[in-house]
Amino acid sequence: MKFLTRLKNIDWGRSAVLGVPYLWLILFLLLPFLIIFKISMSEMQVSRIPFKDIITYSDGALNLRLKLGNYLFLAQDPLYILTFISSLKFAFLTTLFCLLIGYPFALSMARAKPEYRATLMMLVILPFWTSFLLRIYAWKAILTSNGILNNALIAMGVIDEPLALINTPFSLTLGMVYAYLPFMIFPLYNNLVKQDPRLIEAAMDLGATPWTAFWKVTFPLSMSGALAGSLLVFIPAVGEFVIPELLGGPDSLMIGRVLWDEMFSNNDWPMAASVAVVLILIVIVPLVILNHQQEERGASGLA
């Protein structure tokens, strides 16, 4: 009876609405992750399904066989470690440049007259109307040794020999910054446009030059926007595959490419899966810490 009354007390409409995102996360995030995790612990085999089951039944015994070798290998092999570090480095650089370019961009958008803001926003969104791949290929055309940029520079007499731009750390970072910039601009703009302009006036009224007013008021208040933008750029950038493949070079290895190679060239699904698991952990752990800090700061009024 008790159970029945408890069932009656549940607000089913509310639970259904709240349940949808949870169901979504379980079906499309947690479940796939567990499958990947399972594969990462299994042994490779040359077959249509390129890995063995971790649970087998033979001679009346149920065997659970977890292979930790992939993880040990990842921890020991310098190639993987260096690639992880290099991925983090490029993701960090991308985030940094996106912040440096995106902040003034978002600020000028937020300070523009309201009637211009929609147009400016449109201009930021506009590139999304073209295929992502096409846009990255376009950079290839611009940066190759007889590409648009080099030809133009030679024609202007700035350089004699074409510069080696493509397939360098430079071209990789450039492509990533270009691709991810809007994801920095949106949350920043959203934050900055909501800031009360009278706070700046109050700061100036109290003797702050426009520059000081920015650093003491606008900037600290925009931290949550900057953080959101940085996460939106950093997380996908760590695992980015397409841009390193097209614009990256031998000295700009990224983990997304390694993962792809393990999966499709070596057909080593367990290895690829363990790389993926480590990648997810690298991204999620700092995220959880940041989130925790943000909640604490939110509680003390620094949202």
Partner: protein, 372 residues
């Protein structure tokens, strides 16, 4: 306490703040239209007007947030018209305060002092003083959102006074507070400002606030000053229909001037003949209005003697407001007359009530004749 100015002085020699022919145009519209004003040191001056009258624009020009289209602003003899806000010795208390949400009460108050590069120990003592003055010492570490409206208002006040500015600007200082708290805070703010001895210009749309807090008032409409004077001057001798109507309640009789003598005039209106006990500058036959405040009108059942300054009407509405009762009379001409009587007795036996035929009358010094 505050309804008397320090000295009756608007001469240019001790003018502390002087505004000369200030104009601010937005496109073809003049928000502030050739305004001139002098304010002496220690004065608490109020700009009073309804929204859109240009009072806020004028205040923002004093703060330096708006550049005048033409005209000059002098503070203590120096031309500050083109000085940026952060170099003016003027601090402003913003409407709904604009406190920095990411800083504590202490840091909010210290913000201006830090910008001046004052030594740390001096900043500390100044902030402590300010906290003491506005009685917020226990709240120094709190963030603005953890304070009540009244406390936020006091932080804002402390912040704009901390630098000991030569001029303090208050923009609708108490607009965000509820009525009870507002009345209490009005005198509190005045006390604090007088204690520190600051010159102050405030903007408000609330006439009661302006009258309680300021020593002089300028009534503004459509970018111009209509009248500048003591609160009592503005209330008792408004110089035009707008001011009479804007400040307090007012009964307006429209008629013509029929007798024009140096010591009295008579105005004939459809409702009654008004005998005004002072001379005016006008000409016989000109259209004038006679303004009478409700509290200056007495209501009685018996017909007053004489032939002037009374009219007959029927009580159509009656508002008992505790300390006084307001009668709404319908006159024969159709005009509605408002009269208020203090409730000196606890019982209303015999007092006029709905539907009664009564006489409203007033003295020959109760009226103001308005020609514009």
């Amino acid at each position: 306490m505050n309804n008397t100015p320090p000295e009756k002085s608007s001469t240019s020699d001790n003018a502390f703040l002087r505004i000369e022919n200030l104009v601010k145009e937005y496109g073809a519209v003049a928000a502030v239209d050739r305004v001139s004003l002098t304010i002496s040191k220690g004065e608490l001056f109020a700009l009073l007007g309804s929204s859109g009258c240009g009072k806020s624009t004028l205040l923002r020009m004093l703060a330096g947030f708006e550049t005048p289209t033409s005209g000059k602003i002098f503070l203590d003899g120096k031309d500050i018209t083109d000085v940026p806000p952060y170099e003016r010795p003027i601090n402003m208390m913003f409407q709904s305060y604009a406190l920095f949400p990411h800083m504590s009460v202490w840091d909010n108050i210290a913000f201006g002092l830090k910008r001046d590069g004052i030594p740390k120990n001096q900043i500390e003592s100044r902030v402590e003083n300010m906290l003491q003055l506005v009685q917020l010492k226990p709240y120094a570490k709190r963030k603005p959102h953890q304070l009540s409206g009244g406390q936020q208002q006091r932080v804002a006040l402390a912040r704009c006074m901390a630098k000991r500015p030569q001029l303090v600007l208050l923009d609708e200082p108490l607009g965000a507070l509820d009525k009870k708290l507002r009345e209490q805070t009005q005198l509190e703010v005045v006390n604090i400002l007088e204690q520190v001895g600051l010159t102050c210009v405030m903007v408000t749309h609330d006439q009661q606030e302006a009258m309680t807090m300021s020593s002089r008032i300028a009534v503004m409409s459509e970018g111009k000053f209509l009248q500048i004077g003591l609160p009592s001057d503005i209330y008792e001798t408004p110089n035009c229909r707008f001011v009479a109507d804007f400040i307090g309640d007012c009964n307006m009789f429209n008629g013509t001037l029929v007798v024009d003598e140096p010591d009295h005039v008579v105005v004939e209106t459809p409702e009654c003949r008004h005998y005004v006990g002072h001379g005016i500058t006008g000409a016989l036959g000109m259209d004038v209005s006679v303004a009478v405040r409700p509290e200056k009108i007495a209501v009685s059942r018996t017909r007053p003697e004489g032939e002037f300054n009374f009219c007959e009407g029927e009580v159509v509405d009656l508002a008992y407001l505790g300390s006084y009762t307001t009668y709404h009379l319908k006159l024969k001409s159709g005009m509605r007359l408002k009269a208020s009587a203090p409730n000196v007795d606890r019982h209303r036996d015999g007092a006029p009530t709905w539907g009664d035929k009564v006489y409203a009358h007033w003295s020959q010094s109760a009226m103001v004749v308005l020609t514009s």
